[in-house]
Symmetry: C2
Subunit: 100 residues, 2 copies
């Protein structure tokens, strides 16, 4: 993560910009313990394989991390990094250039 270019920033937001993936992120927001995929399945009404793929996409963008725990994988939000990226974008957007 830590997106610098428009392209990198867009890639992160693209991963977040899908309803089911956003639901997964919200779900992970409210959990203080890493959650496995079966548990996360409850929050979006799609097949387990679809959840698996969505989690993979979120992981590829560094939005979530996972840890192997026996036969399951527990996912957790990359809170600090993600929050910082979003705030960096917010700052950039709000800062007006007065020298144009």
């Amino acid at each position: 993560m830590d997106p610098e270019s428009p392209d990198q920033m867009a890639a992160v937001l693209k991963a977040l910009g899908e309803a089911n993936r956003m639901s997964l992120v919200y779900e992970l927001c409210g959990a203080n313990k890493p959650q496995n995929a079966m548990c996360l399945c409850a929050c979006c009404d799609v097949d387990a394989s679809v959840v698996s793929r969505h989690l993979k996409i979120l992981a590829q963008e560094g939005i979530v991390e996972y840890e192997r725990k026996g036969r399951e994988r527990t996912y957790s939000l990359n809170r600090k990094e993600l929050a910082n990226s979003l705030r960096a974008l917010a700052d950039k957007i709000e800062r007006m250039n007065h020298d144009d």
Copy 2:
């Protein structure tokens, strides 16, 4: 804008999550005056009709506003609202629930 549900938040981030649209937003970031579409065309190497459609998508999500100025339309970022939405998401993501 002012997204409350995961779906609404996802819709806004989906609009931002495309490279050319993000370039347009970055371009508008650095401008202190509203820009017309022809001027914004310079920042992404696509047809003017494509820029028109991207701006329409950004406008539909409340990310940009436009004003009719004669035969041109001048676009500007909805800075405050967009920044607030992003910060609200960042806050939500960073706040850990300690009672789970």
